[in-house]
């Protein structure tokens, strides 16, 4: 989500550094092999490609997601394996 994190570039980086980071990221995620990854990188680059956009990003925040439903993907939960006991604890407590 954070374009600086996606491109692995410092928030104070200039145009050249951002472009170099973009090209490096595209090399790692070429559009033919990883279209989703490439799209993510492309969107990140579009958001911070020049000083004006980086400034707007810092001042006014990221652009909104086009679809409201994408909010759920943004906030989607991690799913950790915790073993059976934590699950069964719920039922033991319920009995008492």
């Amino acid at each position: 989500v954070n374009p600086f994190s996606v491109l692995d570039v410092d928030e104070t980086a200039g145009d050249d550094a951002v472009r170099a980071a973009y090209l490096e990221a595209v090399r790692r995620h070429p559009p033919d092999r990883d279209p989703e990854g490439f799209q993510r990188i492309r969107s990140a680059y579009d958001a911070i490609r020049d000083a004006e956009r980086r400034l707007a990003h810092r001042l006014f925040g990221p652009p909104p997601l086009d679809r409201l439903e994408d909010l759920l993907a943004l906030l989607s939960t991690e799913r950790h394996y915790v073993g059976p006991d934590i699950w069964l604890d719920v039922l033991r407590r319920h009995r008492s």
């Binding site: 989500v1 954070n2 994190s5 000083a51 004006e52 400034l55 707007a56 810092r58 001042l59 006014f60 925040g61 990221p62 652009p63 909104p64 997601l65 409201l68 439903e69 994408d70 909010l71 759920l72 943004l74 906030l75 989607s76 939960t77 991690e78 799913r79 950790h80 394996y81 915790v82 073993g83 059976p84 934590i86 699950w87 069964l88 604890d89 719920v90 039922l91 033991r92 407590r93 319920h94 009995r95």
Partner: protein, 810 residues
């Protein structure tokens, strides 16, 4: 005995029947409806009323049914107390109720082993009862798997071992689907059947197949032993319907927290918010947002900002009120982000004065907190953003603050009646002080261009000094000098622009425009040599060969020769002009217009008489030429009338040019006729002809024609959108706004007809057919330009001879 409101039972007693068969039927009806308490009350009233042995039997049946109902509801102590009381009152029922007391005690103690032991030797019906109890009571399958009561090879015990193994596996790590195959051997009526469903649901949860989770969970009985885990899975998968808001136990919260990494409730509230917004349910959306906000605060700033910006964006797009959104955000978060989001909400809802104030509040707070440097690009950009929120028309700003003039607005700011941030000029000055960027200078020049041209020029000069390689301020200074008639100053600025970029298209256009003005000025000043020098320089410009421009320049050379008094050279040029244009009508129109502007109209010789087609084409081409050069075209009414009579031989682009000529010279009947002819052709320019038709009709004097104009504009906008002619879309939208504003003035509430919805294709076709079949010419108002021209009788006389010969030709 448990306390119970006997209202329903007493009500039954008030209509107590003494017929045992009827009473039993009513009691059985209560049982079938699950109302065992009411059945018991009725039976007790019946016993009281009759005192028969049959009634006592009925009461005992009712007591047993109610005791079993309490057991099913896990109200074990209540069931035991009830059964004990029955034994005390009805000694002969001891054998019947003692097992129930024992069963209640076993269940209260969670003694699964006793149930298993009894199941082994029970009758078929009792066995079913016991298995139903086991289904409700088994909260850990190990109790069966490790039971010493059951034989090693007991099917239930073997199934329990499978359940224990797979439950441990699916909660500890990824499990392939085929590993769950042994669950299929557990029958649906088994006490372990809910566990089978639970294991499948958990496995589906970890492979993110939430639909399968919900399918399995919804098949589990509500009162089964593992049911609380079904509810927890509902929360984990953000299943709004399944997730209950009842207070959760610490164990449930621990499970949710550990499994979801602390995000389960965030996802649940986000799902509720998305669904509420999709349903445009503002109250539920507000509630869900309030519940979601504390969870968002725990997210990374990037996720939080994207989430809130998205919510604000879609909230606004749905047209919901901003107030609950503001309250929720400001209540949750009074820090800088809260202020920033409040400003964004107001901005997106078009509340520009409040948005500017909110941004100013954010600016001050951010500077105080050290989050925003008081100078530099960020501050400059923020102040510039604030000025961008103001309406573009100065009058709209003045209206908002009840000020009559810029001076009054500034006086209000100086006196403190309005905050400083309400003066865009003040904000721009601060933005420039923070960082004199191009964007700020551009905004400065734009701002003062309409208000104070001198200041605008001074800002453009400052821009030029701050960014010496920028063409934009120099081009502005050229235009400004040109507007004031300071051609030499404009030419000096042009030299600076050419030193930066000689081939820039805008620089070249400026050069052509300035040389043309300079040449015309020199002719007016009777300085033919200087004019000729300008014309020589103009001839070297690529634009000199575009369209009929060369003909115009040739006529300027004619004016130079006339100024010199060189009649021979002038006549040669006149002779060559018809050849250059290929149309004697066009030659005459250009010559007349130029000669009139220099007071040389008496020196124009007669041209060859043009045909009807040539006349129409001449007017179209002259209109396009004079429009491109920004010069006024004079057309004699008779000439225009002749053109209006028959346009059949002219090309479609020329027809469109005629529409524009009619509007430019204030002869709306010409536009009306040309657009009608264009509509009859059914070309791809239909939207353009509808637009022209609407413009002409707008100038008519009757209300009915104004309604037609609005229909034409709306159809033109629709068709232009489909043809991707964005310029026409914009022009039609502007025209519609103007017509709505005029309607407001006259009290027509901004619209003459219709509901504002875009016209359908069928409506557009009907309109085009209707418009092209109209032969009547509406009464048009006389334009100010035409009124002025009426005074120019001298010019009119020039055409008299020419038109007389035309009429003779006709």
């Amino acid at each position: 005995m448990a306390k119970h409101s006997k209202s329903s039972g007493r009500s039954a007693a008030s209509t107590i029947t003494l017929d045992p068969a009827v009473c039993r039927t009513r009691i059985e009806t209560y049982w079938s409806n699950g109302k065992t308490r009411d059945a018991l009350d009725l039976a007790k009233d019946f016993l009281k009323a009759t005192g028969t042995a049959e009634a006592e039997g009925l009461v005992l049946d009712a007591y047993e049914a109610h005791t079993r109902a309490l057991l099913a509801k896990r109200m074990y102590s209540e069931a035991r107390n009830l059964a004990s009381t029955v034994i005390e009152r009805f000694r002969r029922a001891r054998d019947r109720f003692t097992p129930l007391v024992r069963q209640a005690e076993i269940l209260a103690a969670g003694d699964i082993q006793s149930l298993l032991a009894e199941r082994d030797t029970a009758t078929c019906s009792r066995r079913l009862e016991l298995e139903a109890m086991l289904t409700r009571e088994v909260r850990d399958p190990r109790a069966i798997a490790e039971s010493e009561t059951l034989r090693e090879d007991d099917a239930l015990r073997k199934a329990a071992r499978t359940v224990c193994h797979l439950f441990g596996a699916v909660t500890a790590g990824p499990v392939p689907a085929e590993a769950l195959a042994p669950l299929s051997s557990i029958p649906r009526h088994s006490p372990l059947a809910p566990w089978k469903l639970l294991i499948r649901a958990i496995a589906a949860y970890y492979r993110r197949d939430d639909a399968s989770v919900l399918a399995n969970v919804s098949a589990m009985p509500e009162d089964c032993g593992p049911a609380p885990l079904a509810a927890a899975l509902g929360v984990l998968t953000a299943d709004v319907a399944a997730a209950s808001d009842r207070a959760r136990t610490p164990e449930v919260n621990n499970l949710l927290h550990r499994v979801s990494g602390g995000q389960a409730l965030r996802q649940l509230h986000a799902t509720r918010l998305v669904r509420a917004l999709a349903a445009r349910d503002q109250a539920r959306a507000t509630l869900s947002l309030q519940e979601l906000l504390p969870h968002l605060r725990l997210c990374s700033p990037s996720i939080r900002q994207t989430a809130l910006t998205t919510v604000i964006h879609h909230w606004t797009a749905l047209g919901l009120s901003p107030d609950p959104l503001l309250r929720a955000l400001l209540r949750d978060n009074r820090d800088l982000d809260g202020l920033r989001f409040a400003a964004l909400i107001l901005e997106r809802h078009g509340e520009w004065p409040d948005a500017v104030l909110a941004w100013d509040g954010y600016r001050a707070a951010a500077v105080r907190a050290g989050a925003l440097p008081p100078a530099g690009p960020e501050m400059s950009r923020l102040l510039l953003h604030m000025t961008e929120l103001f309406p573009s028309a100065p009058a709209d700003i003045l209206n908002e603050f009840d000020a009559e003039s810029e001076e009054e607005l500034q006086a209000k700011v100086r006196s403190g009646e309005l905050p400083e941030c309400m003066d865009p000029g003040h904000l721009l000055a601060r933005a420039r002080a923070a960082e004199p960027s191009r964007a700020v200078f551009r905004a400065m020049v734009d701002h003062y261009d309409q208000r104070d041209p001198k200041t605008a020029e001074a800002e453009a000069e400052a821009w030029r000094r701050a960014h010496p390689r920028d063409l934009e301020p120099i081009l502005y200074l050229i235009r400004a000098a040109e507007r004031r008639g300071a051609i030499q100053k404009a030419l000096a600025a042009l030299a600076d622009a050419e030193a930066i970029d000689q081939v820039n298209p805008e620089v070249r256009r400026s050069r052509f425009r300035l040389l043309l003005v300079s040449a015309e000025q020199h002719i007016k000043d009777a300085r033919p040599d200087l004019a000729e020098r300008d014309l020589d320089r103009l001839a070297r410009e690529p634009a000199a060969d575009e369209g009929d421009t060369s003909a115009y320049l040739l006529v300027l050379r004619w004016a130079v020769e006339r100024t010199r008094g060189n009649a021979t050279a002038a006549t040669e040029i006149e002779d060559g002009l018809t050849a250059r244009t290929g149309n004697p009508g066009l030659a005459h129109l250009i010559m007349t217009a130029v000669a009139t502007s220099f007071g040389l109209e008496e020196m124009v010789n007669r041209f060859q008489i043009p045909s009807q087609v040539q006349s129409v084409e001449a007017l179209a081409r002259a209109g396009a030429l004079f429009r491109k050069l920004g010069r006024a075209l004079f057309v004699a009414p008779e000439f225009a009338a002749r053109v209006e009579r028959d346009m059949s031989g002219v090309s479609t682009p020329h027809l469109h040019a005629l529409c524009e000529v009619g509007l430019a010279i204030g002869r709306y009947s010409l536009t009306y006729a040309a657009s009608g002819e264009g509509l009859a052709r059914g070309t791809t320019l239909v939207h353009r002809f509808l637009l022209a038709r609407g413009r002409a009709l707008r100038m008519a004097t009757t209300h009915r024609e104004h309604e037609r104009a609005e229909r034409c504009f709306r159809a033109a906008r629709e068709l232009a959108g489909r043809a991707r002619d964005l310029e026409a879309v914009r022009e039609a939208s502007v025209a519609l706004k103007q017509i709505a504003a005029e309607a407001d003035v006259f009290g027509f509430e901004g619209r003459f007809f219709g509901d504002g919805a875009p016209p359908t294709p069928e409506e557009i076709v009907r309109l085009v057919v209707e418009e092209r079949s109209r032969r009547d010419v509406p009464p048009f108002a006389v334009s100010p330009a035409r009124r002025r021209r009426r005074k120019r009788a001298k010019q009119q006389r020039l055409f008299d001879d020419f038109m007389a010969s035309l009429e003779k030709d006709l």
